[in-house]
């Protein structure tokens, strides 16, 4: 989440400062680390992204197995129970 936030910030900054060498280098570094982290996450929990941008890696369709973002209480990383 932190890596992705850094990548969003650098991306927006580069949109208006496309020749900033320092930001370009930071973006390259962050985006490589982000891709590595996402690959590790997906191997463990299933695809993060739809339409083939994330890997399924299993004999079931893991996209529908993991909880959706509005079903997770980040307070202690618990799932909301049913009513």
């Amino acid at each position: 989440m932190e890596l992705e936030f850094a990548a969003i910030e650098l991306n927006l900054f580069l949109d208006t400062h496309p020749e900033d060498r320092c930001a370009l280098a930071d973006f390259e570094k962050v985006s490589q680390e982000l891709m590595k982290a996402k690959t590790e996450f997906e191997a463990r929990y299933g695809p993060l992204m739809n339409f083939g941008f994330g890997r399924n890696q299993g004999d079931t369709w893991r996209w529908i197995e993991s909880p959706w973002p509005w079903e997770i209480n980040f307070k202690g990383f618990e799932l909301y129970g049913e009513e």
Binding site: E4, L12, D15, T16, L48, P69, W70, K75, E83
Partner: protein, 191 residues
Amino acid sequence: MWIYEKKLEYPVRVSSTNPRLAKVIITQYGGPDGELAASLRYLTQRYSMPTPQAKAVLTDIGTEELAHMEIVATLVYNLIRNATVEQIKAAGLDPYYVDHDKSVYFVNAEGVPWTAAYIQSKGDPIADLHENMAAEQKARATYEYLINVSDDPDVTDTLRFLRQREVVHFQRFGETLNLVHDWLSSKKVFY
């Protein structure tokens, strides 16, 4: 093309059921300065933007606003999902409840549905970028009013993140405006 990522840009923590807070936060979902208006405003204005920087800024900020819309929806849903009818009535949310139950719909804090009249797409990049800078400031002010009203510190934390993003977007739109001014004044061919 858009790709969905199955995560929030920033975590949503809700301490307890609070339909009263949901009733006001929903304005950042379907109100005039909310995230739906923001994302659609930028994503529809980008087609007539003249410079590469402006096209990129509107595409990328418009996309980030979609992620903010999801954060606001998650806040609202989790503030009302376990509310009893008595709690909903006490919060004055019963008119919403009879139309939408606990689903998330595009209305402002007073229940007025979203309208395209909330956004402008003038075709003139100076006019449109000024509109966007004003929109970011109005959204920032709305988040500050919501923070004043919030009695849930966990919700306030998420609102503070969203408020801060408006400040960054305002900065990027201001830079974009300067770049478009430079482009207009350097243009040699007038049409």
